[in-house]
Amino acid sequence: ADLTLSCGAVGAELQLCQAGVKRWEAQTGHSVEVVSTPNSATERLSLYQQILNARSSDIDVFQIDVVWPGMLAPHLIDLNEHLPDGATDDFFEAIVDNNTVDGRLVAMPWFTDAGVLYYRSDLLDKYDLEVPTTWEGLTEAAQTVQAGEREAGRSDFWGYVFQGRAYEGLTVNALEWIASYPDGGTIVDDDGDITVNNAQAVEALSLAAGWIDNISPRGVLNYTEEEARGVFQSGNALFMRNWPYAWDLVQSEQSGIRDRVEVAPLPAGGEDGQSAGVLGGWNLAVSRYSDHPDMAADLVAFLTSFDEQKRRAIEGSYNPTLPALYQDDEVLAAVPFFGTLYDTFTSAVPRPAAVTGDNYPRVSNAFFNTVHEVLSGNVSAEQGLEQLDRELSRLKRRRW
């Protein structure tokens, strides 16, 4: 094959990718080998680094996470040099900025992601409740419905499930809580200052800690996306925080709650807060060790083009990185909430990856461990955040 492309580990994602590649092959006559890589982001990253550190040309085009450009930049080509001017004009600016390291565009935005709230519209109707807009509201609604359902004999019904395992997902969840409070803000701000230890964050975490054993099962402390979806999709939860990917699944033909689910933006922190979904998503980058950088850049351009993204949005509900597609009728027909949640996607909160650079994983780790401890009830939110503050200061000393 002329090129090797790593995209998505798994089936549906992989198939979409392969279909796109086919079309490019048909168009250009080049051949591309698609390799699948591990599902877990960290494993995928270390595999990439393994290959890149060996200066190997085994993979030409990489699919990389939004938090990776900083780390991988030295091994990636500057796409600006290989693509026509203005190639990035139509994309979300935030993502393009995220992908630009020291003025070099190391990756093209491919699809984006942000956390959303799934809820059981039938149950809210049944108990005559509104879709909550604040975390406090969510807590209340969850309590009401949970109590009601339990009374009705469904002893394993819960109000809210989310991703509580000590892993990157918890960083995302917790950041969404904190960021949704006014001035709650960030873990580390854009200047690299540690900001996490503040009263709003304490409030947010305290509230969340109260959920455990109340509206969320203790097991949530070991949930990832799939476990949460499992509970929700089997009809045992009222609310779920998840990524848009779950939409297809909860609405699939075999789903027991098909057509009884709707999606809303995540709640805000208190009346003055704002909804905040954390930015996720993937980009395409070209290896510096590639034998055909121009050809590879062309492939990247093709895969991130309007048509291709539209197809992916329709067929796989992948969030486009082109604002224009959020107004596209065909896309909206397939994924209705793209329209209503447009703001969530455009204003998604980034994780402090860029500013902490190589140290981001440690920062994230310290953060989610603290949150996990707080949720487990081992420490109070105040104590936890204080410790986290010290820990982060310690980390910061080691050059970030």
Binding site: G11, E13, V35, N39
Partner: protein, 280 residues
């Protein structure tokens, strides 16, 4: 009489109860995997102890992937080669370590053991470099070579232990008969070590068959991948979705050859091979 029979019966019942308990403990998870693999994905999140309706779609999904079939082939090649190499090198080394007394023997034993003292992640990148240097990246050769790092130590140690237990007189008889160490090893000891060899071979085979991290790191293309990697990369809807049904189906599919293998090999795990050799 009746007391005796009662006792015998009770003993028998006790024994079978023990067997039953152990069996349940051993295979229940596997059974559960089978049950899960036979369920359509919609029923995945419901507890059930039996298969109500057989839904083979997961199996069809797995087997229809050409890459999965290729992965099975690769796994077979890799695992068999690993077993062959491990047994060959293990037997010769075990003879040296178990039957000859020389300076440095203990050191060698400890070095061999030391190889298995580093965590896999720690050797991963170094091994990656070695394999690239030897130009074995993305080929079964690389996997075969790298798997010796965990199969050889225990093969050597186990075979050494068993080798020591064979009667010395046998080797002496072979020496008097004019057999070289190689002949002694292959013609006299090897047939007597069948239980040990079948066991280590089986363990090495399974270890190689199931290895994940190296297989993931040292192969790249689907045509070279092994079963565990293939399973891990089995299609789900997206990055977050775990396709439980197909994964379980695939696990069941790859476990079956191992069970067959066990059934074949366990014939070799028989007792009394050395009966009648010596007095005393």
């Amino acid at each position: 009489m009746s007391l005796r029979t009662l006792k015998a019966v009770l003993l028998k019942i006790g024994f079978w109860l023990l067997v039953a308990v152990l069996m349940v403990y051993a295979i229940f998870p596997f059974y559960y995997a089978v049950v899960t693999s036979l369920k359509p994905s919609s029923e995945l999140f419901e507890v059930s102890y039996w298969v109500d309706s057989v839904d083979l779609s997961n199996y069809a999904a797995v087997l229809s992937q050409p890459t999965f079939v290729a992965a099975i082939r690769n796994s077979v090649i890799v695992a068999l080669s690993v077993v062959a190499i491990a047994l060959l090198l293990g037997l010769t080394a075990a003879w040296a370590l178990g039957r000859v007394r020389f300076r440095g023997r203990t050191t060698v034993m400890m070095l061999v053991l030391g190889v298995s003292m580093f965590p896999q992640v720690a050797v991963l990148s170094g091994l990656f470099e070695v394999i690239r240097t030897l130009d074995l990246y993305n080929s079964p050769g690389g996997l075969i070579l790298s798997y010796t790092i965990f199969t050889l130590p225990f093969t050597v140690w186990i075979l050494t232990t068993f080798m020591r237990q064979l009667p010395d007189e046998l080797e002496e008889a072979a020496i008097v008969d004019g057999a070289s160490p190689w002949v002694t090893l292959t013609k006299v000891f090897m047939p007597l070590l069948w239980p040990a060899m079948a066991t280590t071979g089986l363990l090495a085979f399974i270890a190689a068959w199931n290895e994940f991290l190296f297989a993931l790191t040292f192969t790249l293309t689907d045509s070279q991948r092994t079963v565990p990697v293939a399973i891990a990369l089995i299609s789900g809807g997206s990055q977050y979705e775990l396709p439980w049904g197909p994964i379980m189906a695939a696990s069941v599919i790859v476990t079956v050859p191992l069970v067959v293998l066990v059934v074949i090999f366990q014939r070799r795990i028989v007792s009394g091979l050395t009966a009648g050799a010596v007095k005393g």
